[in-house]
Symmetry: D3
Subunit: 78 residues, 6 copies
C-alpha cells in the first residue's frame, strides 16, 4: 500500500496528504497567492504567501504536491 | 469548468476543496478518529473528533467528501 | 440537545461548529476577502479566498453559518 | 464598536475571534481533550491537547474564551 | 521546566507554542499582512489579517510572541 | 539572508517556517501523538497522527524540523 508519509524519501514529513498534480493557475496578490493544482479529476486550490509563490517560482505547468495535514481535513456525508 | 464552492447546491461553503471518495477505514480513538478516504488514485487521511465520526456514523464504504479550506493547503515542488 | 454535525440535514459535515448569523461586512482584497458575521452578541471574522466570496456572492445582510473545525479552536482562561 | 483584538488588554493577540462562554464539558483523552463551551445560544467545541487541558485545569463551569484565528473560519450560505 | 500554557500569567491560552521574539518586518496587504519575527536564530513568518496588524500597531522592533496551536505543527525528519 | 522555503533543497515546500531541533519526547496516543521538540531555547509542541509518528519512527534524540504554515501563526503583543 502507498504510504504517504514516506513517499518523499529524503525528508519525510508527518503531513499525511501529498497529492501530486500540475499547476493550472497562479494568481499573485500583494501578500497572498492563489494556486490551482489539477490532481486527477479534481482541482485543488491553495492560498499561500506571495513570498512562497515567488521563491518557489510557481507557474502553470509545474509538477507539484499539494500537502495537507490530516487535522485540516473535514468529512462531509454525501 | 467545475466550480467547487457551488457543487453542494443546497448550502454551498467557502471551503474550496471538496474531494469525493469512498471511506476505506475508520479508526476510533478516545477523543479523535482517523478516517481514510480513497479519492481516485489517492488516499486522503483525516483526523476529526470521535464525536463527529460517531454522529455521522462513518464507516467503510460510505461515499463522502473530504473538505479542505484553501488556506490549509501547502505546495511542494517536485 | 442541539447536535451541530447533523444540523445541516442534507449533507452533514464533521466540522463541529456552525454558528448562524448575518453578514455585517465583506471586504474584497485581491486574493483574500475579510468577512464579518454577527452571531448573537459576537462578531465572527473570517478570512476566505476572494474567489469564494465572489462565487457565493456574499454581501451584507446575508444569513450564513460560520463553520469552524474543532481542532482550530483554542481555549483561554478568563 | 467592540474590537476583538484589543479586548484582552494585557497582551492582545492577532486572533480576531474571542468568544466568551462557560465550559459545559471536558472529556480527557490520552493525547487530546474535547472541550464544549456555551457561548450565548451556541455550543462551541474545541479539540486541544490533553496537556493544555490539564495545565489550565479546565473544568465544567469555568469562564473561558474560545479563541479562533480568522483564517480558520469558513462561510456557508444558508 | 518551562510550561508554555501558563507563561502568560494573566489569561493563559491552550495554544502550546508561544515564541518570544522581535518583529523584523511588517508588510501590509489589502486584507492580509505578512509579519516576520526573529526568534533566536530563526525567523518566524506569519500571515494575519490586515486589521489585526493595524489594531495591534505592529511595527519593526516590537517585542511579540508568535503563538501556534500544537495541531498546526508538522514534523519533518532531517 | 536565510530563505526558509528553499532550505530543503530537494523538494522545497511553501510552508515558511521550518525550525530545526531535537525531539525531547514522543507520547503515543491511540489516534494522535504528542511530540516535543527543542529548538534553541524554546520547546515546540506538535500534535500529529499516531500513524505518522509510527511511520517516521519518531523518538527522543532525533533531529527534525517543526514545519508550520504562515497562516497558522498568530502574533501577540508583549
Amino acid at each position: 500500500m502507498f504510504s504517504p508519509s514516506v513517499y518523499n524519501g529524503f525528508m519525510p514529513i508527518s503531513a499525511r496528504n501529498k497529492l501530486r498534480g500540475t499547476i493550472e493557475e497562479v494568481e499573485l496578490g500583494d501578500v497572498m497567492a492563489h494556486v490551482v493544482v489539477r490532481v486527477g479529476e479534481n482541482l485543488i486550490e491553495s492560498a499561500i504567501t506571495r513570498r512562497s509563490a515567488d521563491e518557489l517560482k510557481l507557474k502553470k505547468g509545474d509538477t507539484v504536491f499539494a500537502v495537507i495535514k490530516a487535522t485540516e481535513v473535514m468529512i462531509q456525508k454525501d
